[in-house]
Symmetry: C2
Subunit: 390 residues, 2 copies
Amino acid sequence: MEERSDDADRAGPLSGVMVLDLSRVLAGPYATMMLAELGARVVKVEAPGVGDDSRQIGPFKEGESAYFASINRGKESIALDLKAAGDRVIFEALLARADVLVENFRPGVMARLGYGWEVLRARHPRLVYAAASGFGQTGPEAARPAYDMIVQAMGGVMSVTGHEGGPPTRVGTSIGDITAGLFTVIGVQAALWHRERTGVGQLVDVAMLDCQIAILENAIARYAVSGVAPGPLGARHPSITPFAAYACADGHIVIAAGNDGLWATLLGVLGAETLANDARFLSNALRTEHAELVAEALEARLRERPCAHWLAVLEAAGVPCGPLQDVAQALNHPQVRARNMVIGTAFPGGAPLLAAGNPVKLSAHADPATRPPAPVLDGDRAAILAELGL
Amino acid sequence: MEERSDDADRAGPLSGVMVLDLSRVLAGPYATMMLAELGARVVKVEAPGVGDDSRQIGPFKEGESAYFASINRGKESIALDLKAAGDRVIFEALLARADVLVENFRPGVMARLGYGWEVLRARHPRLVYAAASGFGQTGPEAARPAYDMIVQAMGGVMSVTGHEGGPPTRVGTSIGDITAGLFTVIGVQAALWHRERTGVGQLVDVAMLDCQIAILENAIARYAVSGVAPGPLGARHPSITPFAAYACADGHIVIAAGNDGLWATLLGVLGAETLANDARFLSNALRTEHAELVAEALEARLRERPCAHWLAVLEAAGVPCGPLQDVAQALNHPQVRARNMVIGTAFPGGAPLLAAGNPVKLSAHADPATRPPAPVLDGDRAAILAELGL
């Protein structure tokens, strides 16, 4: 953006904030990736020998995990055995300098290491302590292990995703972890803000299961009003019609005609004006009640021509629509490229890697097209020890 | 949590922050709901007569939208015609007091009203201006209309959700809007932090499409390594096995046995120890290559007993697992209740309404079991005008 070029301070807004990161795999590392994107320094503390478990999770390229590399770009790494006296000295020296600690162990693990929130709060009253866990630090099931798949299933998202009568369907990306990561970032920033005013840090306790409840949105509202748990809705909106994926001659497109005006325009584009007077389709409520009939009526026309034709004429008429794109098409979409949403980073070994950019575009800060690589396990040990004078 | 009771300052961390909210429907209102949850004051500026479009979107109870009420709880409402001189005076007086402006119009709408970022930046240099839009403020397709369904389709999430060969499948909750809302909160907090250090606000530009790219996670890594766009994976993890929904006698459960030790334990629980030596299942990589055979082998045992039996014995053995719960079951789950994730709020008319709680649990701040109601359209006009001396 033009206004970016005349600002003096181009580093991220959180530059100067130091994050000590004990987290592994996804929820915590996604949170610290975003904190790094915002300019924070992230020092990743990994288990000696193996490091973050996600170093062993595919896909791999020449033995290195692309999954690990994409989420951990730009972080520093030091391998510490938190049960070994010498490494505990290093960890405690890092803690004394940290603004934020992020961990995603099961509740109790940090306390058994002697680094529970109550202990650290007493020693480091300014520390923001963020714990991202499966079920949270409190409650009868706090100690249960959780993964994305489990909270998608337990939190209800799986029950509203998929097709009626069909098999269970997981959201194809780990939104159980990712939403927990995002809420953790929100909590960390709120706690930093509070610390600026009061001088005191606090515990940020985010549970993956809680986050699934927080994103249920319309499904909760429907249950709250009707007392009936909603089922899966395929590829349509629960209360707006037409607002779904519809079949054309060579594939599907999405049409989102959310009001009476767009409905009329859509019918005009399809040459189906006679439907405008159909008593079953006179309002959004009626169209939603008869959503399958709406789909049949629209698809009777749409199947006559290919997706590209319909997208062009619908766009020209101002009817919101879009193509179903696979990941390759999405990453190469001109708008996605223009927004710098595909950035270049690198595996720890130096091989280049494409990854998702930062969707938070800030006018006062740079949005570079590349990021530093993900760290080699323990790769920053010498520099960190020198900095600590150890 | 115990430590909450001895803190003096129980108001949210963002108390004292004033948010002027022009946003409608979901992405923007979800962001300002979270800002309100964190203690900010949110003044919702609505179009006279109809207000936020989501007041007309179901589900309804006695004519009031539960969808609107759940997302707009605790906000104030004033109806202003931003093209009318008198209302513009009120809006500008509010702007002068606001820390944050949130809008989710299509790019260009605010500029045509005379309230574009460049104009407001000059008048209110401390203002944080957050624009959540479908495609962003920049790029060749910035002006296109977008809805959740469209960005789920264009951003690639729909391409990895569902079952191979099956129909298109939308994530059953509006993650296109919700993730944009969450990234907007992250951007607003980062910009407020930056303002504390520099005295200067900035533009926070968040696009729903960008946010879909940002959550593709493992799917991007797979594409980056292989050059092949990944397809839908049903209800299993792309690179960990067994990590999926599996059929028991009376339904499905999720099992997440992500390493060799848990695999061995799982086989023991199922009485299927002989599989431990099966050459096709010796490592996670091999099990993922043969994921369908793994499912067949496990389900041959699992189908002999009901879900409750297997959940009990798997939990006892320490194998991560969980039930598939519908929205009613999820909201009534003891852990969800214990974490205060179902709160009481109210329709604008006063009728009670259940809604999702705040998943960001902060030890220094209250997490009440109730929230103030969503506002009547223009319901706070008199109080706001009195406050402004107008």
